[in-house]
């Protein structure tokens, strides 16, 4: 999706970032395979997951002022469904256009 956003909407300024759960470092090779977006490794000390109060597979959409404006859970909304894929993409584009 990052490549699609960059290619289809140049200058929109949308970035995707992954945050791997603390204690799951062994899964990093699997998560980065074929992906160029940053993958941040969470730690017990930082515990970004608790800081942001997220659930597994949440995508938190953050606007230009660093304010969260939407949540899209990929377990509830499988991106294999093109409708769900387009919904998430639309949410990101809408946030960028505001």
């Amino acid at each position: 999706m990052q490549k699609e956003l960059d290619g289809g909407f140049p200058g929109l300024g949308v970035d995707l970032i992954g945050v791997n759960g603390a204690g799951h470092e062994l899964g990093v090779p699997q998560m980065i395979d074929g992906r160029v977006i940053p993958l941040l490794q969470d730690t017990v000390e930082v515990d970004a997951w608790s800081l942001w109060q997220v659930e597994y597979r949440d995508v938190i959409i953050v606007d230009r002022e660093n304010v969260p404006v939407g949540v899209f859970n990929l377990t509830a909304h499988d991106l294999a469904d093109m409708g769900e894929y387009e919904t998430l993409k639309g949410m990101l584009i809408d946030a960028a256009n505001k």
Binding site: L12, G13, V14, D15, L16, I17, G18, V19, N20, G21, H24, E25, L26, G27, V28, Q30, M31, I32, R35, V36, I37, P38, L39, L40, Q41, D42, T43, V46, A48, W49, L51, W52, V54, E55, Y56, R57, D58, V59, I60, I61, V62, D63, R64, E65, N66, V67, P68, V69, L74, L88, L92, A95, A96
Partner: protein
Amino acid sequence: MHPRRPLLLVTAALVGCSGGRSDATAGPPETSSTSTPGSSSESGASATGATDPDAGTTTSVDPTTGAPDTGETSSSGGTSSTGGTSTSGGTSTSGGTSTSGGTSSTGETTSGETSSTSTSGGETGETNGAAELVPDFMLIDVNSNSATYMQPVSPRDYLERVSGWYYAHAT
């Protein structure tokens, strides 16, 4: 005979005075209390209308300058602002939360455009209501394919950009 005359005179004088006082005291408050809302919705509509959204949160704001009341027109200003609140209370639903936004917009719309004032107040209120930044942190990018590989990354690095933060882990 003599004692009656002064008594009658005094009585007459008292009756006359008290009648005058009762009219004088009862009349103006009733008149003013009923005329204030009327005047605010008619001749004073522009000034008081502009302060309607602000009145809910900043009752001390001067309707013409946007500055705190100086006291010169505090009594009438207070009355009109109260009337303004009741007048536009139905339209400025989010005005109550936009304290700073409402104040600044009032300063701009001294000529008194009620609708534009309440609209801008609403927008400000929405912004202020959701303006809580995501908690900051600093984590290392472990994707060797990424441009920021092995560099610390923070949500604040993405200010001025829209970002989607995907929280997951390999199972």
